[in-house]
């Protein structure tokens, strides 16, 4: 394992790129090997562990996760800047204030093979004031069972490499054990297929924790760029990237089939009743 201390830090510049696609002018170095990446202040921003997941876990996870059918209709920033638009027509013919990615854009993404959905537990929101399993998990419980080994292997890595964050995350998960994912420090998995995300920050995941990302499939490109630090990560299938997803991140162009599974803990899961 190598250590990389970054020397570039431009939070304001990264903010300006919100909702746009990453490209090669946004990074100076590509990390594609085992690496602990530190910010100029010395904090761990990401850890990449190369080719660690067992072929069995990958095969099994691929078998189930490739059946994903949902669309990222509520992830407007990740889709593209300005794609959050009113969607529901009221009785008087005007549009409501509820917003989502417009259907025409979703259709275009669908034609490109883009899919996105959530697996596992979801915490309460003002609109849905109760904790629950995601729709995909309820309709297809075999998918949730199918990612057990993957989740447990990623959990082991998380425990070893970013122990402080792991402990903080586990402490929260233990407060809501009914919503724990296969006995790990995670509650939820966001799955994307061929989804080139525009620069966004993840919302709803635990601030003190880390998001763990792994990829499946055969693809080229799809580098994950952190423009604030001008660094990109090449997360190959079977590798795991543990990172602070509250920093702006986005992907470069993808060719082939790329499925990503992002394992994390919902921020307010500990407020859920059993």
């Amino acid at each position: 394992m190598k250590l990389l201390q970054l020397n570039h830090d431009d939070a304001a510049g990264a903010q300006l790129l919100k909702g746009t696609y990453a490209n090669e002018s946004h990074y100076d170095q590509v990390v594609d090997d085992d690496m602990v990446v530190l910010t100029p202040d010395g904090d761990v921003v990401a850890v990449l562990v190369e080719g660690v997941l067992s072929p069995r876990a990958r095969r099994r996870a691929y078998k189930y996760l490739s059946t994903i059918e949902g669309m990222p209709s509520n992830r407007a920033t990740a889709v593209y800047r300005g794609s959050s638009l009113p969607r529901i027509r009221k009785r008087d013919g005007s549009l409501s204030r509820t917003r989502q990615v417009p259907l025409s854009v979703l259709d275009m993404l669908k034609a490109k093979g883009v899919r996105g959905d959530v697996l596992g537990s979801l915490d309460a929101t003002p609109r849905t004031p109760r904790c629950r399993l995601s729709s995909w998990s309820l309709k297809n419980p075999q998918v949730l069972r199918g990612v057990r080994q993957l989740a447990q292997e990623v959990d082991e890595l998380f425990k070893v490499w970013v122990m402080d964050r792991y402990i903080a995350q586990l402490a929260v998960v233990w407060q809501a054990r009914d919503w724990q994912l296969h006995g790990t420090a995670f509650t939820t998995i966001t799955v994307n297929k061929n989804f080139r995300t525009a620069y966004h920050t993840d919302k709803g995941d635990l601030r003190e924790g880390f998001s763990c990302l792994t990829t499946l499939g055969r693809f080229k490109g799809g580098l994950l760029v952190l423009p604030r630090y001008r660094v990109a990560f090449n997360v190959k299938p079977g590798s795991v990237l543990m990172m602070d997803a509250h920093e702006f991140h986005g992907n470069t162009q993808i060719t082939g089939e790329r499925i990503t599974a992002v394992l994390y803990c919902r921020e307010r899961i500990n407020r859920c009743k059993s």
Partner: protein
Amino acid sequence: MDKKEMIDQLKCKLKDAWLRGKAQRIEIGTLLLELRKEVEHGEWGKVLAELKIPTTTAADYIQEASRQIHGFRKFEGGKVVVDSEAAEMQHAVASAAAEVARDNSPEPPANHKPAPVIELSEHVRVKGPVLFCSADQKAAFKAAKKENPARVYSIFQKALLESIGGQEEVSDETLAA
């Protein structure tokens, strides 16, 4: 066609496109780009002044047209990055936004089922306690409230007193006035 004729022709086209408004920005930008290629160095400002196009507006139009032609280009360390996916997505989002803006106009789209129209009878029920007044009275009340809120307030007070205690009667003429 000599150079002067070409410039004059482009100027005429520009004037025509300028009059057609916002939808023609890209056309204007493209024409400006062509015109700028033909104009001598140092003459560009004069040409814009002659066409009465502000320099910054011209620059914006040129940029928009240029993006349309070449896609988004970012120059960083001598590298040119053209991202076709970004341009495609921008176009899709802009179209969707325009569609939403159109849909949000007072006229609902063809496939929309309008809400049932409520026919106003002579007597309409007003919000609040169980009170009834005629449609004319309601219209008179609204007009009077707009003109002189203090007077309406005093009438309302009298009516309230009438309804709870019957101390002072408010005639229809007073309300209608």
